[in-house]
Symmetry: C2
Subunit: 670 residues, 2 copies
Amino acid sequence: MSGTRTSGRRGAQDGAGGAAPAAVRVTFLPDGQSATAVKGTSLLDVAVEAGVAVDAPCGGQGRCGRCKVTVEGDGVAHRPSAHLSAAESEAGVALACQATLEGDAVVTVPPPRERRHRPRGHAVALPEALPLTCDWRQDPAVRMLDLDIEPPSLTDNTSDFDRLQRALLQQHDIKQIRAELPMLRRLGRDLRMANWKVKVALEMRDWVYGAYLPPRLIRVYPSVFGQRSMGAAVDLGTTSVVAYLVDFETGRVVDSESAYNKQIACGDDVISRIVYARRDGGLARLQRLAVETINELLIVLQERNRIENYEIHEVTLAGNTTMTHLLLGIDPRFLREEPYIPTISVPPGLIASELGLDANPLARVHALPCVGSYVGGDITAGVISSGLYATEKLTVFIDIGTNGEMVLGTKDWLVACACSAGPAFEGGGVGCGMRATTGAIEDVWIDSHTLEATYRTVDDAPPRGICGSGLIDLIAELFVTGVIDKGGHIRKGLATPRVRDGLGGAEYVVAWADESDDGRDVAVNESDISSLVRAKAAVYAGIALLCRSVGVALADVEQFLIGGAFGEYIDVEKAIRIGLLPDLPPERFSFLGNTSAMGAYTALVCVNSRHDVLDVAAKMTYVELSADNAFMDEYTSALFLPHTHIDAFPTVAALLAADGANGVPAKEDA
Amino acid sequence: MSGTRTSGRRGAQDGAGGAAPAAVRVTFLPDGQSATAVKGTSLLDVAVEAGVAVDAPCGGQGRCGRCKVTVEGDGVAHRPSAHLSAAESEAGVALACQATLEGDAVVTVPPPRERRHRPRGHAVALPEALPLTCDWRQDPAVRMLDLDIEPPSLTDNTSDFDRLQRALLQQHDIKQIRAELPMLRRLGRDLRMANWKVKVALEMRDWVYGAYLPPRLIRVYPSVFGQRSMGAAVDLGTTSVVAYLVDFETGRVVDSESAYNKQIACGDDVISRIVYARRDGGLARLQRLAVETINELLIVLQERNRIENYEIHEVTLAGNTTMTHLLLGIDPRFLREEPYIPTISVPPGLIASELGLDANPLARVHALPCVGSYVGGDITAGVISSGLYATEKLTVFIDIGTNGEMVLGTKDWLVACACSAGPAFEGGGVGCGMRATTGAIEDVWIDSHTLEATYRTVDDAPPRGICGSGLIDLIAELFVTGVIDKGGHIRKGLATPRVRDGLGGAEYVVAWADESDDGRDVAVNESDISSLVRAKAAVYAGIALLCRSVGVALADVEQFLIGGAFGEYIDVEKAIRIGLLPDLPPERFSFLGNTSAMGAYTALVCVNSRHDVLDVAAKMTYVELSADNAFMDEYTSALFLPHTHIDAFPTVAALLAADGANGVPAKEDA
C-alpha cells in the first residue's frame, strides 16, 4: 500500500549518485505556469510554491483525496491511494500531495471548485453599521501635525531630531517623541526636502506594555503635499480575510475588501495548517501566504482610494490563535500537542516592516490578544464589538466556523471555550458540500406531505452542492418532515423517489441531475447527516458546558449573540430544530456579522478600547474541553436530533407532536 | 589634464552599445584575490569590495596620491595625475581611485606601509585601571535568573510567555517582562528543550526614553548549561577600534582587542568618509565596514574566552558623531555641509541584529549620545570616565587626534568645541610622517651644541619615519636649540650637516640613510613643520576660545585631562614648548588613556551612568568654531612657536633666555 511506484525511466534510481540534487521542470496546465524543483519534491509543494491553486483541504496529509491532478509523461512517482479509482490511476490521475517529481512533467490541475469567487458575507461595512462608543477624537491613535521648523544655522546647530522635538514642544506642546532607526535614516533628507515645513505622522500612545511611552514618529511629509492619514483593520480568518480601510480624519471605514486566505493551499482548517507548518519551510511559507493575502487586499484598497502604502499609518489585526501565531511566524505546533499551549496570548508591539505588510514600514501593527489555544484575537475582538464586555445581561457570544468558539458572561466575568465542529458548516466532509459560493444551495424547504424539496441557491445559479447553512436547513426539514429520525437515519419505505439507496447507503436527493450545474444529482446520505450532527453536537455541548461550569441554566441566557460570517446565514428556527442552538425565544438571538473585523476596527480607532481588549483577554477564563469529561457527556447527549433530552427543546417537541399529522412520527429509537 | 586616457584596445568605446554592462575580472597581486566588476567601475572601489587593502587616506578623491598600484595589460583606463611622475606612468603605475576597469586586469598593490600592525596605545585595560563609581550589583544592566517553571497541563493552559512571567513573579518578584518577535519565535521550543528548568537573561532597565519599561527577555537557556553573561564595550574610533569584553558576573573587563577601522579603506579622516558616503553604495559600505571591524574584534574575544556570540547580552559603543552616524547607516552629509548639523545626538534604542553585530541578536546596543557635529559619544564618554562631570575643579578635558575635541567646565557647566587639527598628529601630511607603529621615531633629543639628534623608535626597530608624538618632540627640540625660529623656519648657515637644502627646501635630517629601514634619510622640512604648527595652533586656539567664551583665564584651569590614545604619548613639557598645551604647572596635567572605551565600559556596567551620559550630553554647550571670528584670531596668534604672546608661556620664555648659550638665540622675527 505504501510503497513508492516510480513512473517510468526517469525514476528514483537517478538520484542515487550522491551528487547535487538534480533539478526538474514541471508545467502546470491549463494556465501554463512552470516551475523548477529539486528532484523528489512533492508535486503539491511545487504547485503551492508556483502559486498554482490546488485544492488541498487536509494540507497535504493524503487524507482528503481532493488534490487530484492528471499527470502526462512519466516524470512523476506517486503512491497508490484509496482515494483513486482504478480508472483514475489508469488515466494518470494522482494525488498531488502523494506524488513526487522525479523528472520533467506536465501536470493538469482541475479548476478549484469554489475558490474563484470572493468569499460572501463580507460586504463593505457601512460606517453607520460600525458605531464607535469612544470619543476617539480626544485620544486619536495617530495624529498629523503641521510644523514650521526653524532652519538650522551656525549659531543654532541643534540636531535634526532635537530640532523637530523642539518645534513639537513649541507648536503642539509635545515634550518628547521616539523614532526608530529607519525613520532617522531618512530624517535629514526629509526635513530639508520639505524646506523645514512639514507634516508629521505620530503614533500617539503605545499600547502593549501599559507604559506611557513618548509618541512615535512614523513619517515626515512636506507640508505642501496634503497627505492623508489612514489605518487598516484586518480580520485574518482561517478561510476568509477582510480588510477595512479607515480614514483617521473622520474615524470612518471608507472601503473594504476581502479574499480567501491563501494559506488554504496548505490546508483548510487550522489543524491541517499546524501540521503543514511542521514541514521543512512550512512555517515560513504559511507566514508569507498570510502576509500576501493581506497585502493583496491592502493594494486593492490603496489603488481604489488613491493612497500610497506609506499613508497607512497603523494596522490592527484580529485572528484566531493559530492565525496569529502563523502571521507572526511563531511555530504553532504546541497548540496542537496536548496540553495545547499557545506561545503567546498578547502579541508584542510590531511594525509593518517586521511582518512585511504593505503599509508604512513604521506603521504599528496591533495583533489583538488571544485567550487560549482555540480562543483567539477574533473572539476578544468579538467580545468588544458585540458589547458583551460592557453588558449586565447574561450573554452568550458565539462564532461558528470550522471551529466553534463561544463565550458566556457579563461585564463582570467571562468564560470561553472552543470546540472543533469539523468542516461540515463550511461545506467540508460532506459529499455534496461546498462553500457558500455561486450555485450553493443555501435554503431548503421540504413539503411535509409530498416530501418534495424546494431550494434557493447563491446567485440563483443551477445547484452545484450544498453549503453549511443549506445543510442545516435541509437536515432540519428532513427531521421535522420525518424523513430522518432523531438518530439521523433515513427512514425506509417512504413514498418518495427522493429517498433511495445510493453508493454510500440511503440518501435523499435535493436536486435532480437535470436541474444541477454538472448534470449529477445533489444528494445527502446518512454519513453526510452524521457529519453535521457531530458538528452541531459539539457546538451545543460547548455552550451547555460553559453554563454548567458557572452554574447557570441555558434558559437563563438573556442575549445570544452570533458573530462570524457563517452565523449571518443561519436560520435560527431551523438551527434550534436540529439542536445546534438552544431553544430560546427568537428575540434573544442577534446576528452581528463580522465581529472580528469590527473589533479590529474599534481597536484601530478607539485607543482606549485597546485596554478593554487586553482586559477582556486577561479576564476571560479559558475552559479546555479536552480536559473535561463533562464535555464528552454533553456531546454524547447532543448527538441526537434535536437532543437526547427533548425537554430542553420544548418548541421542537411541540412542533414534532403537531407534525405527527404528516404520517411519519419521529421514532423513539434510532 | 582631466581627460580620460584609455589604455589600449579594450577601452571605453566597448561600453557604448547600450547593452547590459559587461563584467570584467581583476586579479590583485601579490595576494592573488580576484574579483568581478561591472566595466567602468573604479579600481579602488573594486579593491575595497574585494577586501584588498589599498592605502587611500583621502577616500578616493584623487587628492593624496597614496593609492598607487601597478597595472599589467591594457584593461585599465586612468586619468593623468600630478601625483604620478612620467617614469611611474611609463611603468604602469596608476592611482587606483582615478582608474576604471575597462577590461580584465592584473593589478599589483604595494604593501600598505603601516596597517599590518595592530594600533598601539590600546593595551588590555586592567580591571583595577577601570574604577567603577557605581554600585552596579544593586542595579545590574543584565540579570541571569534561574527559573523552575511549572510545566503546562490541560488544567493549567496559560501561554508559554505568560507562564514564564508567572514564574518570574513568583520566584523573583518581577511583575512583567517584554519580548521581541525573534525571542517569541523560539520561546516554545527553548522552554521545552530545557524541560522548563531555565536560566533567563533579562535586560533590566531601558535607558533611551527615560521610561521605566518592563525588563526585556534576551535569551532563555537550559539551567543545566551554566551560561555566562557578558557584555562588550566598544570604542569606535576613526582610526582604531577597541573592544572590551566584560563579565556581568564580576563587572570586570576580562579581555580586550583592537584593530584599525576598516573604513580607512574609504578615507583616513571623517571628512574623507563623509565624502565617500555620498557615492553610490558608499554609506552602506561604510556601515558594513564599521560592523565588520567590530565583529572581527568580537569574534577574537569570543574565541579567546570560549564563549558563544549569544552570550554577549549587551553592547555599548562610543564614537564620534560621524562614526556614530555611519555605524547606524545615517547619512552624515549634513555634518559636513554648513551649518554642520547632525541628524541625531541621542541614538535610538537598538538591538544587535539591527546593526548586524556578532552578539546575541537581541542584545541591546547603546550608542553613547553626541553633543554636536564634531563632539561625539567618545567625548561624552570621556567626560564621564575622566570624572569631569563630577568635579568641582575648573577642568579641561581634551582628546587629540585628527580632530581635537576639548571640553571646559566643572560638574555644573560644560562647554565644548572641536577643531580640525589635520592629520599631522597621526603622521599624515608630513613627508616622513607615519603612524606610531614599528620603526616610527617617537622620541627625539637634539644636542644644543652639536645639533646632533638622538632618537628612540617604536619596537627599537630601524627608523621608518616619524609619528605624531615624535614630531612634537622633534619640533620642540629644533625650536629650543635654535635650529628653527618662532615662525618655524630653519635657520641658514648652522654648523651641522643635518641642516641642508632638500628637494622640498631646507630640511633637518633626523636619521641618516645608513641607520634607516629603507636606506633613505629621515628628514623634516619647513612644510612638514608648518603642518604641525597649524595643527598645534588649532588645538591651542580651541582651548583658548573655550576659556574666552566663558570668561575664565587659561591659567586658572585646575586640571588638564588628556584622553585618547595619542595623548598618552605626548611629552607635556615638549608640547608646552611648541605651544600645543598651555604653560601650566606639570602636576595639573593627567593622561587618562582611552577615555572613550572607558566611558563605554562605565555605561555598560553602571546603568545609572547612562543617565549621567545623557545629562552630560544635554548639559554641554557646543561652540561651533566656524561661526566664531574669535577662533580665527586665536588661531592666528597661535601660529608661532610657542605663541605670538610669549608672556602666556613663561617657562618657555625662561628656557629660551637661558638657552641663549647655544649661540643661536631665537630671532624676534621670522
